[in-house]
């Protein structure tokens, strides 16, 4: 079975992803979606990227699997520049999940999940076994493989999206608002389920979210972006308790302030906040 291990080179660091002065502009360098980003992400970590709309979260994520190409600087994966080979070959080794899922409507659920292994030339029987394994992993009924994506609920579709991203056994998962379209209850449950999968499989996950609570509760490390710059970077506890930047502090305070208002509502006392 193909394995990402073969790609590893001895770089003297356990960083899977390394960004070195990476910039990206969509308007000819007048404004930057990502500006001079330096970043290292270690194996096994769960990193959340938060920030306002337009702060460059998605761009930063897509620079890693080259859905967006950097204008300047180098993105390294396992120590190797991502620009070395064709982008589509690179992407077969990286799981990618996004809010709209984008299941192929003309394929069954099983064919959707097996698409990357098929591109990699896995034997048919091995793909079938892997699909069955993944359906169980993301808690879908075994017979859902023959169904059409149109027959699934939103939560089920997102599970299929996660299974599809995991199919070729990638080490690295890139997730762009993966649970953003789901109702809060389902969103919470699926997030925790994914965190379990992340731990069980020893994945490295980079997840974009606008939801600070989700970032705080799921991630080991949080990056805060503002206007293309990484303005804060640290574990949830550190950012919740001692962020230097006032805006970052306000952002990280949001869950606590909301919780206080909810408590006040329950207690029957009014809050002016």
């Amino acid at each position: 079975m193909p394995s990402a291990e073969t790609l590893e080179t001895d770089t003297g660091t356990d960083a899977i992803i390394a960004l070195d002065a990476v910039s990206k502009s969509f308007d000819g360098a007048r404004t930057f979606a990502v500006r001079a980003a330096n970043l290292e992400i270690g194996r096994g970590s769960f990193v959340a990227i938060v920030g306002a709309s337009g702060s460059g979260k998605t761009t930063l994520l897509k620079l890693v699997n080259r859905l967006i190409e950097a204008d300047a600087g180098t993105v390294r994966l396992y120590g190797r520049p991502v620009g070395e080979g064709p982008g589509h070959i690179l992407r077969r080794r990286i799981g990618y999940v996004f809010q709209d899922v984008g299941l192929f409507p003309h394929m069954t659920v099983a064919d959707n999940i097996g698409v990357t292994p098929k591109l990699l030339g896995w034997p048919r029987a091995e793909i079938a076994a892997r699909v069955a394994e993944l359906l169980a992993l993301v808690d879908l009924p075994p017979d859902s493989g023959v169904r059409s994506p149109a027959a699934l609920s939103g939560g089920q579709r997102q599970r299929v999206g996660i299974a599809r991203a995991l199919a070729a056994r990638p080490d690295l998962m890139l997730m762009d608002e993966p649970f953003g379209a789901l109702d809060p209850v389902l969103r919470e449950a699926l997030g925790r389920e994914y965190r379990r999968i992340h731990d069980d499989l020893g994945l490295t996950t980079l997840m974009v979210t606008h939801d600070v609570v989700e970032a705080v509760l799921l991630a080991d490390r949080i990056l805060v972006l503002r206007a293309g710059r990484i303005v804060a970077d640290g574990p949830p506890h550190a950012l919740l308790t001692g962020a230097e930047d006032a805006e970052v502090r306000a952002l990280m305070d949001m869950p606590r302030r909301q919780a206080a208002r909810v408590d006040a509502l329950i207690d029957g006392t009014t809050s002016d906040e």
Binding site: N65, L67, P86, H88, I89, L90, R91, R92, R93, Y96, F98, D100, V101, G102, L103, F104, P105, H106, V115, T116, L119, L120, R164, A165
Partner: protein
């Protein structure tokens, strides 16, 4: 009535076979050209607008004109290829029809293809990139399958257009279901016109339903529907090919222009060749300008033309020698310049003539074109499509100072009706037309002798000049058909009651001339 229907059914395999083969080839070529273009246009916004505008422009050209335009284009290309590579190709028939119909089929396929490829869900495209598909894999595994239903709808529209428009291929010499319509229109045989329309409509309906099956199959991802529809289409195309191949290439091809007399004479010639054991096909409904070039290029083997037409249009002569000198000089010139053999005059003349209703002419006291000149400014002229641009008309106008109040053009059948019902006062008639006597018209005399002679002459293509068997079969026709016989034969076909087919009129002519 039964005889007319039976005659229509006899030629159905030939007409339908050609129609199916032509439509299938044009549609296949249209799809093959449009798909890559649709793909390119969906990828490049800069290409999209010019391409879609261009094919839309093609669509605005009247289909008959588009078909006709390809004849001179292909003729020029063939001459060029002859000069450079030493091989030409036929500019008449299949190729111009194929080229025009292919262009015609492209708009719906291209437009739907672009729409189908551009309106895909962006999330699905992002997912296709995200899972690691190359741009080729994305196209074949995701984009084309998802655009297929919209694309198929475009192909369906194109198929119906092509089958309908293919009926207009008759005038460029391509046999098709349009032969019923064009011949029927000329000879006022409405059975034939209706037969052709119904046959084309039924064909379009069947093909449309088969394509609908494929479309439904593509939309519902149902392989058996696609297979069944595809099998039906392939079976139809194969049946057409087999029919055409079983018939084999005809030994001789006889040409005819698009009017009754020409249909009768082509049947007369074809009958004689068939009786002599040769196989014959007819290229009927050819345009007057097209037919001589087709003969000179060897695309037809023989046809009947008129001396005045050759003299003025082909030789560009403006003098008026006597009949014997004219025929001798013409024969010499044709042989020298084109290798065409003038076998001889058939014995009658079919000249342009100005004609009026007898009562109207008498009331105005008009007997000659000179008399007409004084009244012309208050009279309405009706002509066929060709007359207003012919040198005879220019010469007549100049010589007699003719100026009419209005001038209208008609398909010749309707031109006669227009003068009978008084919509026009004067028409450009043909002297051998049976309707002159039948409609009680008078032909105005030409006291200054401006209108040249129009002796019907039998012309033979260069490649048949040395074919003595062919000449032997045709030469008995020379000098055997007088104007009265020809008028009667024309009248048999054109009249509204007790109508006869051109073939029946041809047999009448043969019997009258003692040819069998």
């Amino acid at each position: 009535m039964n005889e007319r229907l039976a005659a229509a059914f006899r030629v159905l395999p030939d007409y339908l076979g050609h129609h199916v083969a032509l439509s299938a080839a044009a549609l296949a070529l249209g799809v093959a050209l449009s798909l890559p273009l649709a793909l390119a246009a969906s990828r490049s916004a800069r290409l999209r607008w010019p391409l879609l505008t261009l094919v839309s422009l093609v669509q605005t050209i009247p289909s008959l004109a588009l078909l006709a335009l390809f004849y001179p284009i292909l003729l020029a290309l063939s001459a060029l290829s002859q000069r450079i590579f030493g091989v030409g190709f036929p500019a008449l028939g299949f190729l111009p029809a194929l080229a025009a119909l292919t262009l015609y089929s492209m708009l719906p396929i291209l437009r739907n293809g672009v729409a189908g490829l551009l309106n895909l869900d962006p999330a699905v495209i992002e997912a296709a990139r995200g899972v690691g598909m190359s741009s080729g894999q994305r196209l074949f595994r995701v984009e084309l399958p998802l655009a297929a239903p919209v694309l198929m709808a475009g192909i369906r529209t194109a198929a119906v257009w092509v089958i309908g428009t293919a009926t207009l291929a008759t005038p460029v010499g391509q046999t098709c279901l349009g032969n019923y319509i064009f011949a029927g229109l000329q000879t006022e045989d409405w059975t034939a016109v209706l037969f052709g329309c119904v046959a084309a409509a039924l064909l379009a309906l069947v093909v449309d339903q088969l394509l609908a099956l494929i479309e439904a199959g593509a939309a519902r991802r149902s392989a058996w529907r696609v297979a069944l529809g595809g099998a039906g289409l392939i079976a139809g195309a194969l049946a057409a090919a087999v029919t055409l191949m079983a018939a084999g290439p005809p030994a001789y091809r006889i040409g005819a222009k698009n009017f009754t007399e020409q249909h009768i004479l082509a049947d007369l010639i074809a009958d004689r060749l068939t009786q002599a054991g040769d196989s014959v096909s007819q290229r009927t409904g050819l345009g007057s300008a097209v037919i001589f070039r087709a003969l000179a290029a060897g695309e037809i083997d023989a046809y009947v033309d008129y001396s005045g037409t050759i003299w003025a249009d082909v030789m560009h002569r403006t003098d008026h020698p006597d009949r014997t000198t004219m025929l001798r000089e013409m024969a010499d010139w044709l042989r020298r310049e084109h290798g065409v053999v003038l076998l001889g005059p058939l014995g009658f003349e079919n000249a342009y003539a100005l004609a009026m209703r007898r009562d109207r002419a008498a009331a105005l006291g008009i007997r000659s074109i000179a008399d007409l000149a004084a009244h012309a400014p208050s009279l309405r002229l009706g002509t066929d499509y060709e007359f207003p641009v012919r040198p005879e008309w220019a010469a007549l106008r100049a010589a007699y100072g003719l100026r009419f109040a209005t001038s209208r053009q008609y398909q010749s059948t309707f031109m006669y009706q227009a003068v009978v019902d008084g919509t026009v006062d004067v028409i450009s008639a043909f002297s051998s037309d049976g309707r002159i006597a039948a409609d009680d018209l008078v032909v105005l005399s030409d006291p200054r002798g401006i209108i040249p002679r129009y002796d019907a002459v039998l012309l033979i293509a260069p490649q048949r000049a040395a074919d003595t068997a062919f000449r032997h079969v045709l030469s008995p026709l020379v000098g055997t058909i007088d104007i009265a016989a020809m008028r009667r034969a024309n009248q048999m076909v054109d009249r509204a009651r007790d109508k006869r087919t051109p073939a029946e009129a041809a047999r009448f002519l043969a019997a009258r001339a003692g040819l069998r």
